[in-house]
């Protein structure tokens, strides 16, 4: 796992998206991707794991395994789920440092920011923020040791 860097995975995704020349294909792909999301366990779908600022519900959980953060998530809306699947693909299984230090520019490049509505892009910002916050928290914790 994670032989590629986050940057490389982002480039991979950008490449995948270049083949779609209309939004319909992009969205259908997101719907497809939604099925691949590593799903958060039902018992963790609590307010504590809910992300604010999304029009649809998004739950996100992070666990530390061997120095790497593993994300699981879910959403009641499918396109949201597809997007978070992309984020998880880029960020899950990484060290806190890599997550903190890598810019997520693929989102702009593949036109998610632009093509998705604001409500959605607000949600997107919240999701990324939450994932980075988890990374910061785990980093702080490991330094305490």
């Amino acid at each position: 796992m994670a032989e590629k860097t986050m940057q490389e995975v982002q480039e991979e995704i950008v490449e995948e998206f270049t083949v779609f020349d209309d939004w319909l294909d992009k969205y259908n792909y997101l719907i497809e991707l939604s099925k691949s999301l590593p799903v958060i366990e039902e018992k963790y779908k609590t307010p504590e794991h809910l992300i604010e600022g999304c029009q649809s519900k998004v739950w996100l959980k992070a666990d530390m395994e061997d120095g790497r953060i593993v994300f699981t998530a879910d959403s009641d809306a499918i396109i949201t789920k597809g997007i978070i699947a992309l984020l998880v693909r880029v960020m899950s299984g990484r060290s806190p440092e890599e997550i903190i230090n890598t810019d997520l520019d693929f989102i702009n490049t593949i036109g998610l920011n632009e093509n998705l509505s604001p409500a959605r892009s607000n949600g997107l910002v919240s999701m990324i923020k939450q994932m980075k916050l988890y990374a910061l928290a785990f980093q702080a914790k490991s330094k305490q040791k």
Binding site: W23, L24, Y27, I31, S56, D76, A77, I78, I79, L116
Partner: protein
């Protein structure tokens, strides 16, 4: 006489564009309406030709703008048939207006143990200010329940009154599903018990004739931006006799009479409630919106919107797996629905891609959504400038949504 829809659509420049390479369809009118050139140009003219701060100015343009502002008050007065100009108070919007009444009425009349009646179908703007007031004063809220068609249960309403009831605050028309509440009768009921009534008219004034004297409303509040006027404007109608009694809400310039560091006395109505420089440009634009409505003809608007509602309801009800909420007999042209197993937000995103603006979510009516046991709806709210063809396009988009997610 039927409306000349070609002319009307020409009045609204924003409608003539494409969105995502599709002709733009605007079905988010309950959130805010579009503005006719008559309104846009009027405000333009203020800023290009007459702009000056009002009331205390000694110079020509200040005079002129003061006149235009006060004429706007008279225009609004006539529009809702208030008795006096000074019963019309300009605010920043419905939310600002209800907050004003909640504070001023609350300071004067609400104390521990008192009760305020609202309904289960209110917009947050007509819930939260009363909640806050109740919290501050130790009072409590009573909520009128609904039937499954989205109509208020009037017998229950009757039973909610007690000797502690101090105010009823209900919406004239529900923004989530369009129900027109029988506010005239509800006001009568309250008045028999000597309880004053505030009506949230935000979704009503633009969809049918409102006569505040005939309704006998004590307060009637609405927003300019939902009636073809500019953002940042709103109106409180209040009966003179009550307004006179209420303390001011916001304080500052314009609304004072004498100020010393020891004591301040307040100006007369309506100025007592209009602190600071008002949004006079907006208010003058709002008067232009009222004139536009009147020239178009409220009767004609009502007729056309009724036709759109009937057509839209019929077309949507033909779609498999679509559930329409709000089957009240009396309703405005709002189509609020869900699709089986599809999140409203997923649906809304795809509908948007067809150039169609609908709203999805709880429509600032979370308690009502919970009552329905749903997470939100897709809402297409139509007004007289919308067309049957646009409804057809919506139906097509819904079919695509179903294809994608099923």
């Amino acid at each position: 006489m039927a409306l000349d829809i070609v002319k009307i659509r020409n009045d609204f420049p924003i409608l003539k564009q494409t969105v995502h390479n599709k002709p733009f369809v605007y079905f988010d009118n309950a959130a805010t309406t579009q503005k006719p050139v008559q309104v846009i140009d009027r405000m333009d003219k203020v800023y290009r030709e007459t702009n000056s701060n009002i009331h205390r100015g000694v110079h020509y343009l200040s005079d002129l703008t003061t006149r235009h502002f006060e004429e706007a008050r008279e225009t609004i007065r006539k529009f809702i048939n208030a008795r006096y100009d000074h019963e019309i108070i300009f605010t920043s919007g419905t939310t600002g207006g209800i907050n004003l009444v909640a504070f001023s009425f609350g300071e004067k009349y609400i104390s521990r143990g008192d009760e305020i009646i609202i309904s289960a179908i209110e917009h947050h703007a007509n819930i939260v200010p009363w909640q806050m007031l109740c919290e501050r004063k130790g009072a409590s809220l009573k909520v009128i329940p609904l039937n499954s068609d989205g109509e208020l249960l009037l017998e229950e309403y009757d039973r909610l009154f007690s000797s502690n009831t101090r105010l009823v605050a209900i919406t004239h028309v529900a923004n989530s599903i369009g129900t027109i509440n029988p506010v005239r009768e509800m006001i009568q009921t309250a008045h028999q018990k000597n309880v004053p009534v505030l009506i949230d008219g935000t979704q009503a004034v633009q969809h049918g004739k409102v006569d505040v004297q005939d309704l006998d409303a004590d307060f009637y509040v609405f927003s300019g931006h939902k009636m073809y006027g500019p953002t940042g404007t709103g109106v409180i109608y209040g009966k003179e006799s009550i307004l006179e009694e209420l303390p001011p809400y916001q304080t500052g310039g314009e609304m004072v009479d004498q100020v010393t560091f020891e004591k301040t006395t307040f100006n007369r109505l309506p100025f007592k409630f209009e602190a600071g420089t008002p949004n006079y440009t907006g208010v003058i634009g709002l008067a232009a919106a009222v004139r536009y409505i009147e020239e178009t003809g409220l009767d004609e608007i009502v007729a056309r919107e009724k036709e759109l509602l009937e057509y839209g309801s019929r077309r949507l009800s033909e779609i498999d797996g679509l559930h329409l909420f709000g089957q009240a007999e009396n309703k405005i042209s709002i189509l609020s629905f869900i699709l089986d197993d599809i999140h409203p937000f997923d649906a809304g995103m795809i509908i948007d891609k067809y150039g169609i603006a609908v709203r999805t979510g709880n429509h600032c009516a979370q308690p009502f959504m919970e009552l329905l046991g749903i997470r939100g709806t897709i809402r297409a709210s139509m007004v007289f400038y919308n067309t049957r063809e646009e409804i057809d396009r919506l139906c097509e988009a819904i079919e695509k949504v179903k294809e994608m997610f099923n």
